[in-house]
């Protein structure tokens, strides 16, 4: 009955729809770099530059040309993967970001996985047992979770788990000095260490990762748990649940086969927002734990007014987020048979 063609078309449409967003992102990044109220050449040349080097930068970057021409040059540079030179490291921004990106991704994805694994069951339990201790716990976690400044949670966890308890290693990055970083395959230490079966390094990396990942997970699990609970409650009060009950289906089937599958749809949609929060929180958490990812790179660049680096970071984060959103939407398309048939 259900032909696959409209679904395929919807999927392709969704991918095509991501293109104008990418264009918009590039335009905004361009505006943020070039259309500043002041003289961009002064910004890019850095704080210590004299008039001559500012002029050099102006010519080198084409800042003396009309805005439209600058944009074309900018897009051309982007297509060649050229994000400019970093003032502080003296290397191309694209290279800096590429070397540091795996660290950020490993942290963010671990935290999100942790958050989903905790938050979804918590939300489901709270919705199916309204008024129980799980429900109250869920409410406290949800309200407290969104109120916690990530940077503060991180510091608190360091104080308690490192300084007081001594359970966690000192917050100085991805791996203690005593370990050698594993051979670069994916850039994810946990995966790379596992690949060469170096379990000691794996444990070392995992223990360094534990605190920052927990900090981020605490922050991101709140919106997921909240949405899961709400979606589950609304699914459970839907008419079709009554039909299923009246037909004598078992509780298991009603809860997981019928209610949960329907509740998943809004939860998947929320994940987009959660990713946005997570990528933002990532910057703060990396600073707190001296995590050598792109977030702490951007913070260091901000301090020394290294504009090319900051703008490269913003653009990278946006493109990453667009890609994540695309994955979420495609996931949604896969779950919901109505995609492509009903207008939203």
């Amino acid at each position: 009955m259900l032909s696959t063609r409209p679904r395929l078309r919807a999927t392709l449409m969704r991918i095509v729809q991501a293109l104008p967003v990418v264009v918009g992102v590039v335009v905004i990044s361009f505006l943020l770099t070039r259309a500043l109220p002041g003289d961009p050449a002064v910004y890019f040349a850095g704080a210590a530059a004299d008039a001559e080097s500012i002029e050099q930068v102006r010519v080198a970057m084409g800042l003396d040309k009309p805005l439209l021409e600058q944009f074309i040059v900018y897009v051309g540079d982007l297509l060649r993967g050229d994000l400019g030179q970093s003032l502080s490291t003296g290397r191309p921004v694209a290279v800096d970001l590429a070397t540091r990106l795996p660290a950020s991704l490993e942290l963010t994805l671990t935290a999100l996985l942790l958050a989903v694994v905790i938050a979804v069951p918590l939300g489901v339990l709270a919705a199916t047992r309204p008024g129980s201790w799980v429900d109250h716990l869920c409410r406290v976690v949800v309200t407290a979770g969104v109120s916690l400044p990530t940077f503060f949670t991180g510091i608190l966890l360091i104080y308690i788990l490192y300084y007081l308890m001594g359970w966690a290693p000192s917050p100085i990055g991805r791996l203690d000095f005593i370990y050698l970083s594993p051979e670069h395959v994916t850039g994810f230490y946990l995966i790379d260490a596992a690949l060469v079966r170096d379990w000691e390094t794996w444990r070392g990396a995992a223990s360094q990762l534990a605190l920052p990942a927990m900090t981020m997970a605490l922050f991101t699990l709140a919106p997921i748990a909240r949405m899961t609970r709400a979606a589950m409650l609304s699914a459970l009060s839907a008419d079709f649940i009554r039909t299923a009950k009246a037909a004598g289906l078992s509780n298991r089937k009603v809860l997981y086969g019928y209610a949960f599958r329907n509740a998943l749809l809004p939860v998947v949609t929320t994940l987009g927002m959660v990713f946005s929060f997570a990528l933002g929180a990532n910057v703060l958490v990396e600073k707190v734990f001296a995590w050598p990812g792109i977030g702490s790179y951007a913070v260091e660049a901000l301090v020394v007014s290294d504009y090319a680096a900051v703008q490269g970071f913003v653009l990278t984060m946006a493109l990453l987020f667009v890609a994540l959103n695309l994955v979420i939407d495609l996931l949604y398309t896969a779950i919901d048979p109505r995609t492509g048939f009903l207008s939203s």
Binding site: G24, V25, P149, T150, F152, F277, G280, V314, A318
Partner: protein, 290 residues
Amino acid sequence: MSDMPISAAPQGRFDHILYVLRSNPVTMIAFGMLGFILACAILGPSLVPYDPLATNAANALQPPSAQHWFGTDQVGRDVFSRVIVATRLDLTISVLAVTMSFVVGSILGAAAGYWGGWLDIVLNRILDTIMAFPLFVLAMGIVAALGNTIENIIYATAIINMPFYARLVRAEVNIRRDAGFARAAKLSGNSDLRVLALHIFPNALPPMMVQVSLNLGWAILNAAGLSFIGLGVRPPTPEWGIMVAEGANFIVSGEWWLAVFPGLWLMMAVFTFNLLGDGLRDIVDPRKRT
């Protein structure tokens, strides 16, 4: 007439608010905490025991005591005074930012939701593009580009909050655009603009107020986050984010009070607005309670 008896006591909005408050003491507490925070913001600077900027090297890094409730920092300033005085700055930033996004978002969203067409398409494209950035990262980019000042923190926070209002208003207006009462208002001789402004928009306000409350908390978090990474507010101005950032350096050596007290205070403020938002949600629509 089998209609409702006339003598039945009218169940007014006020009764409902009272009922919700009484059955939900948490919301009452939230209102109390809001009063306290507002008092700190308004009266704080004139009531605190010490000058928040006065340094005293002899008295540096003292743990909390009767003289210095929250202890002193690395240059001997009283942490308690600094925390209280910071309330005004943090609150001002977030209130101004949220007001801006509320006004701009409401106008754009209402117009797009009511008239639709190209206006709606253009607005949606712009919102999509803003939302395509991780919002905190966009705020970093904006402040870095516009310049590192408090005003720019406010603008950046306003810009990243605006899509939430525009989308909410757009949706609320859109579902009421063809409602019977909106059509009836047109039949009564109201122009489109009057129908939108006087009949439809007021009905979208309750969910907006919930959003404002939740958003204030989020705006405070954002502003504090930006100053934590060194944007906007500059030392020695007392501000929660920057105080936590400075205190973070001392946490690994055990001087916890430098970071913990401003952090707790920040958390309390955000928590208050979130509780308030949830409470308002109950008042506005008991079914949406989550």
